[in-house]
């Protein structure tokens, strides 16, 4: 017991040896680099926490109003619509973005590949209003794609498909880049072996490459979904209605004022945090084999 006390107590009370022991303790247990990084990183997290604490303190002071606003059918419907539209955009991304990511991952470096990669990244570098304008011009009733599609009954202006297509546009780089990184991590040798054992290209992809990239698919989908449901400028250009959560908050802010819009925002923060926390927790159980590739 005495030994344990001596070894864990950095400040033993015996004069001169204290300095030596403290020096040893500091060398052994204190990693200043990590502590420095924690402080710098903590400042970043601190800003977010401070912002949330700020809004929370105001909202929790009047819980009755918060519950009243959160329970309105308009807010509930808007949250469900936002999450649903985001999920639809992600499903479309999985359908179209996965093959694109695979081709980019497996093709040799070339000027053409570089151009395609830059095109994929365009939504990342554009101001959101520009992205919204691009989507609007293409999918409006007189747009290159909007016109023929509206003729077969698929309208985008102020309609859910417009919201989805805007979300798809801004979220696509997040999914494609994550998926491409996942495919790149799967050695081509594995596919080669599968092919010589009798698997066609698609079978090798389906049975070997895709299962080994699931974690990247999942995390890319979460990122893309998060980006999609948070979009405002891109969506408002083509589909002010139906209200998704960002457009509803803007509408509420301009018509009802700060009090109501703040309550809606806080409700969204709580719901989003809960959903994303659960989704992130689930990644722990995805693609356990990736590390062994």
């Amino acid at each position: 017991m005495k030994t344990e006390t001596l070894s864990t107590d950095p400040f033993p009370a015996d004069g001169e040896t204290n300095a030596i022991r403290w020096h040893r303790y500091r060398e052994r247990y204190v990693d200043w680099c990590t502590i420095g990084f924690c402080i710098l990183g903590g400042l970043l997290v601190g800003i977010t926490v401070l912002a949330i604490a700020n809004i929370a303190s105001a909202e929790l002071a009047d819980p009755a109003h918060l519950i009243e606003v959160a329970a309105t059918s308009e807010v509930v419907h808007s949250i469900l619509l936002t999450f649903g539209a985001g999920a639809s955009a992600v499903l479309l991304l999985i359908l179209f973005g996965t093959p694109l990511a695979y081709v980019l991952a497996r093709s040799r470096p070339s000027r053409f590949k570089g151009v395609v990669e830059s095109i994929v990244d365009i939504p990342l570098i554009l101001p959101h209003t520009v992205a919204g304008l691009l989507v609007y011009l293409l999918f409006m009733r007189r747009g290159w794609l909007g016109a023929p599609l509206s003729e077969i009954g698929l309208a985008f202006e102020d309609a859910l498909p417009g919201t989805i297509v805007a979300m798809l546009f801004v979220a696509s780089p997040f999914y494609v880049n994550s998926m491409r990184e996942g495919f790149e991590k799967v050695p081509v040798h594995l596919e080669n072996v599968a092919r010589t054992l009798g698997a066609g290209t698609f079978t090798a992809f389906r049975t070997v490459t895709l299962p080994l990239s699931l974690r990247h698919m999942y995390s890319g989908a979460i990122l893309a979904w998060g980006r999609a449901i948070g979009e405002f400028a891109g969506v408002i250009m083509i589909a002010y209605y139906p209200f998704i959560i960002s457009t509803l908050i803007y509408y509420s802010f301009t018509t009802d004022g700060i009090h109501t819009s703040r309550s809606i925002a806080f409700t969204v923060i709580l719901v989003s945090f809960g959903v994303f926390y659960l989704l992130r927790r689930m990644t722990r159980f995805m693609g356990r084999y990736d590390d062994r590739v």
Binding site: L197, G198, G200, T203
Partner: protein, 353 residues
């Protein structure tokens, strides 16, 4: 069985140039060469993973140049084993049968004897990440054999194994070749592996096929100086023919006369190859022998390597001899010891031109 007819192939900055070779049914064919020579590309071309820029590939007499890998009936085992990490051992081994349409239960039943044969039955439910290198290698081999390929392609399968596991695996490969009559094509940079396993050998250097033929011939009587260096001939000397009497030529090598059996004409520049195994050492003047080349010299250095030792002797020209460590001890050899070295004229391989 497999024929390359003037095959050329480019992959980025690497070029396989105009390769022609034939691999017969039942051959244990070695493709050897230094790192980056194009051995694996050649192997992958057989598997159909690279399309040649020109030339033809034939399998069983039919052209397969553009035939996809899944239709070639060749199985490939990579140096890194390339087991599917998301599948258990049994699923890895039965993968080929499953993708060819066999049901899960039937495929598992089918591969059960293979698991027994390769001593991996007890690992059936384990994932590759939990296996040792030797176990992974056996699983990879079982997976390749499970699809009953016409040709088994092995890409440096022994390089990542420890010496004990290597010996076991070499025995497995010998058995597989002998008992199953499989045609095996193996890429390697190890002369020892080629000596132990190969029936035929191709030497590829910098994308070019520089020698090809029976294993003993290529390994012991190489066609060029670079092949001789690669296949590990310890003594490579330049000389010129000074006399030739009915095929027994005398050559001047650094001022010493060396005799060898060759048709090289007087005045011709030649390269002499002498295996260190063929150099015999005796202390002092040594006993009389029938060897045509006998030279006095002194030991320069002795490098021990396992049960043998490489002894370098300066006899006007420097030659390396391989002796057992016991011989080194019995002869009390040490740097500076005066010795007589002898080499039979028939043990000197002459490369002309």
């Amino acid at each position: 069985m497999i024929a390359f007819d003037r095959v050329s192939l480019s992959l980025g900055s690497f070029h396989l140039k105009d390769v022609s070779l034939k691999i017969g049914k039942g051959d244990y064919y070695f493709i050897v060469g230094p790192s980056g020579a194009g051995k694996t590309v050649l192997l992958e071309a057989i598997a159909g993973l690279h399309l040649p820029d020109s030339g033809r590939l034939l399998l069983r007499g039919s052209e397969i140049t553009a035939l996809p890998p899944e239709k070639r009936k060749v199985a490939l085992v990579y140096q890194d084993y390339s087991l599917f990490p998301n599948m258990r051992v049994i699923e890895n081994v039965s993968y080929g049968l499953r993708v060819q349409g066999m049901g899960k239960k039937e495929a598992h039943r089918e591969v059960a004897p293979l698991l027994e044969r390769f001593g991996i039955a007890h690992l059936a439910d384990r994932y590759p990440g939990t296996l040792s290198g030797g176990e992974q290698q056996r699983v990879a081999l079982a997976r390749a054999v499970a699809v009953k390929p016409d040709v088994l392609l092995l890409d440096e399968p022994l390089s990542a194994l420890d010496p004990v596991t290597q010996e076991k695996f070499i025995a497995d490969l010998k058995r597989l070749h002998r008992e199953d009559g499989l045609t095996i094509v193996q890429v390697s940079h190890s002369r020892r592996e080629a000596h132990l396993l190969a029936t035929r050998v191709a030497v590829i250097i910098d994308g070019t096929l520089v020698d090809e033929g029976e294993a003993d011939v290529v390994l012991n009587t190489p066609r060029s100086r670079e092949v001789a260096a690669f296949v590990g001939i310890e003594n490579i000397l330049d000389g010129s023919v000074t006399a030739n009497e009915g095929g027994l030529a005398t050559m001047d090598v650094g001022g010493r006369a060396v005799e060898a059996v060759t048709d090289a004409a007087v005045g011709e520049e030649v390269t002499l190859c002498i295996r260190a195994d063929d150099v015999v050492l005796a202390v002092g003047d040594g006993p009389q022998s029938s060897a045509r080349n006998t030279m006095a010299g002194t030991v320069v250095s002795i490098a021990e390597n396992g049960p043998v030792a490489e002894v370098r002797v300066d006899a006007g020209i420097t030659l390396t001899a391989v002796l057992t460590r016991r011989s080194v001890r019995d002869l009390a050899l040490a740097p500076g010891t005066a010795v007589t070295l002898s080499v039979k004229a028939t043990a000197v391989h002459v490369i002309r031109g």
